[in-house]
Symmetry: D2
Subunit: 136 residues, 4 copies
């Protein structure tokens, strides 16, 4: 799937992710890698103006889904089975960039790694996520 | 802190968690354990009516925070450093119950374990979360 | 499988785990739970006489395998796909007790949770492990 | 610390890691990254000649320690607080290469990421490890 097809699919199947304005931009997908941008609005912020932890988890999970869709196509319904995230630095305001790589694409499991960086390029969080892939 | 004091603190400091209606109910906190209820609304659901993965992650993270607040009090600003979650079964509609226990309360780190169950009591997800605790 | 059958199977198929003396004792397996004892010898210790981290990881992984074998039987070749461990307290010398519960036994994945305690009952480490189960 | 100093320190302080022959070779440490080689002997193998999971966990944990020592020096006693590992492919026989990068070096916590590859360069396992760093 191209990034446009993935973006259309997500808009159609998961409209909730945009329910308060478009915060995600599906930037690119290429062999083994996808990039998703995120622009926080009020509801993602915690006291002090930092983006909340659950917002970063959702971003990592979504970017993992994008890279998997890019490789297995729209027919498959993949679901997250495990997500592990380390929060490294307090996110500053501004756009976040999630870069997700595919560590393994097996018959049953896909394992991904995601780094989330701020505008300056500094790593704010790092996650690994495993998706279960239905029989193709 | 009592569960009422924690509930007041969260309402005051983290109003975003209730920004679309009160979905969380802080049920109890006792030595080593806290219970939080969650009632999904439209924005937490995925196609087929199941509660989304990020919603479960947020619930686990919040329940971990509640049990830690119950033990270290309101003065400390604890932040999540690691969260690991296994998604076990597809959540059915209805109220979810997150039960979070304190595995360790150290000087610098608190480690918690959370089970999230549905109305029937069946475990839907299981998470461990680590918080960094500022010097007291 | 009974605990005796599991113990025999492990002795036969994984003789390496006993290659420096019998450090593991497979204590019990019952629905949803298994218990494994561990008695460290010289090679498991670190400076100061504490049991090493990798020793605790191996114990958690093995106890998870025992509870899974107890439920799916000897025919299946299960392999670990993910292990997450939190080290909580410095292990004292003496026997360790790993108690492992089955969070989920699905068609493809089994998810387990293990607590490792010392003689006093205090929790030293906590792990979750996922095994991939071959088609039965 | 240079890689020679780290190698000497580990030989001196952790002689157990070499108790059955030198299986680890500390190849390099540079800003933000360390490389450790591993050559299995009989005790690391499982039926079929594959390197065991606990062996890979120990390698990841050790490589994480090397990159941290390279940055904070020999005075500090760092201990693992969390390790998460995904097993991706069955390790073939032959030398393994663990490449570990430093995601964060904070005042209290260091977070690392390790890829373990075989001779062919294919990724066999991927781990993240967090160490607690004592006050410097």
């Amino acid at each position: 799937m191209t990034i446009e097809e993935i973006s259309d699919l997500l808009d159609r199947e998961f409209p909730q992710i945009h329910d308060r304005g478009r915060v995600y931009e599906f930037a690119s997908v290429e062999p083994g890698r996808a990039v998703v941008y995120f622009s926080a609005n009020e509801r993602h912020l915690r006291p002090g103006g930092t983006v909340s932890g659950p917002t970063l988890m959702e971003l990592a999970d979504l970017a993992a889904y994008v890279v998997i869709l890019g490789h297995i196509g729209p027919v498959a319904l993949a679901v997250t089975t495990n997500l592990n995230i380390n929060f490294l630095r307090k996110p500053e305001q501004g756009r976040l960039v999630a870069t997700c790589t595919l560590l393994k694409l097996g018959k049953r499991l896909a394992v991904t790694e995601c780094g989330i960086a701020g505008e300056s390029g500094e790593l704010l969080a790092h996650a690994t996520a495993t998706y279960s892939i239905p029989p193709r």
